[in-house]
Each structure stands twice: as structure tokens, then as C-alpha cells.
């Protein structure tokens, strides 16, 4: 009901390998939905199918109630896209980038020019209006890419790793802007590797791996339903040895990763008291977060 983006049984293979494998997704109007997953999980392919840029091998995709790719043109009139890699026009100024991009939507120059000041203000680029793209910092380029995605006043915005490669200041500014967009009632679909980003921004999340959805829900639900509420990280040269001898006595579940031991517990009190007596070990006690869920669901080993 009221789904702005809908996928039913989407499938896509490249060279015999299933990249997206029977994906169902339903994103409601006005929500910020995060798609998480390790590299190669199929996130970008999913976005491209939902945008109607590539044709699924099987399944149905609906974007703003229109079937894609069949009616992709009509659907994309009301969609904005922030791609993973910047593809601004390097020959143009900031304002020219917006003007030229707006024309692709069939907008008249007058309409676009009337919108440019507010877009620049939104992107905190008003003073850079006539600067050429190569002179902008990474954060400015991302903000311009975001402003460009808004030139047609879209109802839905796709963001593929919107803050990858940005410094903390630049990321926080982007986050603030994305929150403003959700407050305006826009629907956001974003992919990210940053769990703090997903936790802060998204109303709902889905974790993808090997082309399938393996868990879905609000950040809180994902944590509550997948993992113990408390985490104690234990560090030190002897931590692995310690884990072999003691961890199972105190933790419901633990994982050794190099010189760190991650203990997942419902009640951290006994473990913390025990660790206070171990002078060779340091520890950090914290609530479980999305990254713990992510690593539990998709494993700790490297991808690619």
C-alpha cells in the first residue's frame, strides 16, 4: 500500500553469476530506506534495476507505480539520482551544471534559473555559483551532485553511497541535508557502507548479501532481533588466549579478530567485573550497534 518503490522477485545474472537473486522490496512514501551490504552484494545493480537502467532477467520493478524499465522515462521525470562516482560536467560552472541538467528533464531555462538560488543555498554553494567544477573540494562536488539531483524537484531520490570519501564535516552536512529532504516528505533510497550513517538517517534498512535480502527492519529492530544488546570488546596481546579460556563463561557469543575479542552479552556486569581484574587486557563496553549486526549477518572475512 502506498509503496513508492516496489520490487517483486527481481533477478539479474552477469556471465552466469547471480548478482541479484529474487529480491522483494517495498519502500513507502516519505521514508528513508537504506540498503546495506558488502561490496558485490548487488546493491548498485538493484538500484539500477529500480531506476529502469537495466532490465531484470525475472521479476517486476515498479517506480512511482510505473513499471520499469518499460515506463522508465515517465518515472524518472520525478526521480533524482546521486551516483556513486561524481559525474559532474568538468567544463561547466556550478550554476551551469544545474542549468544543463535541468534541461534533460524538459524544464525551461526560466524555471531552472528560478530554482538555482534555492538549490545553491541548500547545497551551501551560493558563493561558488560561478566556480568551475575542478576547483571544488570533494564535499562541495557531492553537495553539487545532490543539488543537481533536486533540480526537477523529485519525489524520490536514489543515493548510491552518498558520503563515501568525504571528511567528517562534509558527511555531517550531507546528513543534515538528507534529513531535511525526508522532512519535506521526499522518499530516499540510499546505499551505504557506513553503519552510523544508516543508523542515523534511515527509518528502515535492509541488509543484502549475495544478491538476497537477509534482514529487514528499523535500525532498532535489526539490532534487537539479530544480536545481544551489549558488546564488550577486549584488546591486548593475550586476548585470544583469554578468549579460549574464559570468554564462553561470560558471553553468549564471541568472535576473535586479530588481537581483539568481541563478546556479545545480554548482561555485561559479570564480564566487566572479571575484566577489571585482568591487568594485561583492555576492554570497551558499549551497546550493540548496526555494525555488529552487519558483521554477524555478512561475516568478517574480506570481500571482492
Amino acid at each position: 500500500m502506498n509503496a513508492v518503490i516496489k520490487a517483486i522477485g527481481l533477478q539479474k545474472s552477469y556471465g552466469g553469476q547471480r548478482v541479484v537473486d529474487g529480491l522483494d522490496l517495498s519502500i513507502r512514501k516519505g521514508e528513508c530506506f537504506g540498503l546495506l551490504g558488502p561490496n558485490g552484494a548487488g546493491k548498485t545493480t538493484t538500484l539500477r534495476m529500480l531506476l529502469g537502467l537495466i532490465e531484470p532477467d525475472a521479476g517486476t520493478a515498479l517506480l512511482l507505480d510505473l513499471p520499469v524499465p518499460q515506463a522508465a522515462r515517465e518515472a524518472r521525470i520525478r526521480v533524482g539520482v546521486v551516483p556513486q562516482m561524481d559525474n559532474l560536467d568538468p567544463d561547466f560552472t556550478v550554476a551551469e551544471n544545474l542549468l544543463v541538467y535541468g534541461r534533460y528533464f524538459g524544464l525551461h531555462d526560466r524555471e531552472i534559473e528560478a530554482r538555482i538560488p534555492s538549490l545553491l543555498e541548500f547545497a551551501s554553494l551560493t558563493s561558488k555559483r560561478d566556480a568551475k567544477v575542478p576547483t571544488l573540494s570533494g564535499g562541495m562536488k557531492r553537495r553539487l551532485t545532490l543539488a543537481r539531483a533536486l533540480v526537477n524537484d523529485p519525489d524520490v531520490i536514489f543515493l548510491d553511497e552518498p558520503t563515501t570519501g568525504l571528511d567528517p564535516q562534509a558527511r555531517h552536512l550531507i546528513w543534515q541535508r538528507l534529513r531535511e529532504l525526508t522532512q519535506q516528505g521526499k522518499t530516499l533510497l540510499l546505499t551505504t557502507h557506513f553503519m552510523d550513517e544508516a543508523e542515523r538517517l534511515c527509518h528502515r534498512l535492509a541488509v543484502m548479501d549475495n544478491g538476497r535480502l537477509i534482514s529487514e527492519g528499523s535500525p532498532r529492530q535489526l539490532i534487537d532481533s539479530n544480536i545481544e544488546p551489549q558488546v564488550v570488546e577486549v584488546f591486548g596481546e593475550t586476548s585470544a588466549q583469554w578468549a579460549g579460556e574464559h570468554a564462553a563463561n561470560y558471553a553468549q557469543r564471541f568472535e576473535v579478530s586479530g588481537e581483539s575479542v568481541f563478546c556479545y552479552v545480554r548482561d555485561a556486569q559479570p564480564l566487566v567485573e572479571h575484566l577489571q581484574a585482568q591487568s594485561a587486557l583492555r576492554y570497551l563496553h558499549r551497546p550493540a550497534n548496526l555494525e555488529d549486526v552487519f558483521l554477524k549477518l555478512t561475516g568478517r572475512e574480506m570481500r571482492e
Binding site: 537495466i54 532490465e55 561524481d86 544543463v100 528533464f105
Partner: protein
């Protein structure tokens, strides 16, 4: 490879904002660009025209310089369309990801490829017109008929842009284009009647030249420059158009495959 890859082009007016984008980029570098269009062909024409021309009797019933003028317009037109479709097209598709940005809007790949061809043909038109202007100024052609060279430059541009885009669709990197220029463009420049009549070649080479598009372009251009109606004009136009249409379709199919990942 899906059936959709082979669908006929679906054309729309949405190519026009893309063409305007290219035009806006070009306006920023207009001066060096016009110089580039002019310097190479004009130096060839004047150097060979004066240098060889003084040693040669008339060629094809005209001075060697006048003979060369028609060929020069055609080959400079071919060159500018080819460079635009290959190098600049590849930059927009691959390096700058301009196409990717455009394809996220309500514009389809068919529109993007059409705009590339039309833009490269626009550059051909400008380059042909610039060389033509020099020819008129030097008094190498007075014929009113030579005004027809302007639409012809556009047609030659469409032809070579469309053929060139096939290479762009196949190219893994810029180096790849050397094959095309060395094995296709340069031989055409030497075999198709730019510098001497094709009839000077042995019959086997004439046969090859007769199917190459530049030969047909020059067969149209040379009579027009001296004020005559080209014999078999419709045939030559049809050959150029056929190359253009096939090039457009083949390159579009290849781009659909390449970008469907």
C-alpha cells in the same frame, strides 16, 4: 544479449538538450577549436597545392590546387567527425561519465547516441565551412554550386560520426583508436581521391576505393566545387546515408550491450 538490444532506435526530441550541452562546452573553447579545424587542412592544401601543383599539369581539368581544395574539405570534415566521435565521445561515455549522468534523467541511450552523431556532424559542418571559407577567400572556387558543400559537410559528418561511434562502443581505452585511424581513416585519405584521382590506382585498389564512403563524398564534392552537377549524385548520397544509418544502428546495439552492466 537480449532482444531489446537489437530494437530499432526510438528517437525523440530529447536529444536536443544534450546537443546544447556539447555546444555550450564548445563555445568555451571556440577559438583554439576553430584554429585546429583550419590549420592542418589549410597547410596541407597550400603546401601540396603550391609545392606539387607547380610541377603538375592540370589535374582532372583544373589546377592542382583547385583539385586539392575539394578533397581537403571532405577529408577535414571526415577527420573532425571522427575525432569527435572517438576521442571526445569516449571521454563523455567513459572518463567523465557524462552519459551516466544524462541516463539518470528521462533521456534514453538512443537519444544520447543520436546527440553524439549530430554533435560530431555539427563539428564537421563547422570545420567544412571554415575550410570552404578559406577556399573562397583564396579564389579557388567561385561556383555558386559550391554552397552545396555546406549540407554535404553535414552529411559526411553524419556518416563518419556514425561509423566512428562503432569504435567508441568497442574501445577499452583511448589507445584502441590508433587502429581505426591507422587502418581506416589514413588509408581512406590516401585511396579515395583526396590527392589524386582514384582512376590512377590499379583496378583492384579502385574496386576497394569504390566502396569506401570518402570516395563517394569526394565524387560529390569535386563537381560541386567547380560548379557542375555531380554525376550519379543520388547514388553517392544513398551510399553515405546507408553508412550513416548502419553505423548508427550498429553502434547503438553495441552501446546498449556495453552499458547494460
Amino acid at each position: 544479449m537480449s532482444k531489446r538490444d537489437f530494437a530499432l532506435p526510438r528517437l525523440s526530441l530529447r536529444f536536443f538538450p544534450i546537443w546544447r550541452r556539447h555546444w555550450l562546452v564548445w563555445k568555451k573553447i571556440a577559438a583554439p577549436s576553430i584554429l585546429g579545424h583550419l590549420a592542418d587542412p589549410v597547410i596541407y592544401m597550400l603546401g601540396l597545392g603550391y609545392g606539387l601543383g607547380s610541377l603538375l599539369p592540370t589535374m582532372g581539368g583544373m589546377s592542382y590546387m583547385a583539385f586539392l581544395a575539394a578533397g581537403t574539405v571532405c577529408y577535414s570534415t571526415m577527420n573532425s567527425a571522427s575525432f569527435e566521435a572517438l576521442y571526445s565521445g569516449f571521454a563523455r561515455m567513459h572518463e567523465q561519465r557524462t552519459w551516466e549522468a544524462i541516463l539518470n534523467t528521462p533521456v534514453a541511450l538512443d537519444d544520447v547516441v543520436l546527440s553524439e552523431i549530430l554533435w560530431a556532424a555539427t563539428k564537421s559542418l563547422m570545420s567544412g565551412a571554415a575550410v570552404l571559407a578559406v577556399i573562397w577567400i583564396l579564389g579557388l572556387s567561385h561556383a555558386l554550386m559550391s554552397l552545396w558543400m555546406i549540407p554535404l559537410a553535414l552529411l559526411i559528418g553524419l556518416t563518419f560520426a556514425a561509423i566512428g561511434l562503432i569504435m567508441t562502443a568497442l574501445a577499452p581505452a583511448y589507445d584502441f583508436f590508433m587502429y581505426y585511424f591507422t587502418l581506416v581513416i589514413t588509408p581512406m585519405m590516401l585511396l579515395c581521391g583526396v590527392f589524386f584521382p582514384v582512376t590512377q590506382l590499379p583496378p583492384s585498389m579502385q574496386a576497394i576505393a569504390s566502396v569506401l564512403p570518402l570516395t563517394h563524398a569526394i565524387d560529390l564534392a569535386r563537381p560541386l566545387m567547380s560548379g557542375n552537377l555531380p554525376p550519379q549524385a543520388l547514388l553517392h548520397i544513398a551510399v553515405l546515408l546507408a553508412y550513416a544509418l548502419c553505423g548508427f544502428y550498429i553502434s547503438l546495439v553495441l552501446f546498449r550491450r556495453r552499458l547494460s552492466r
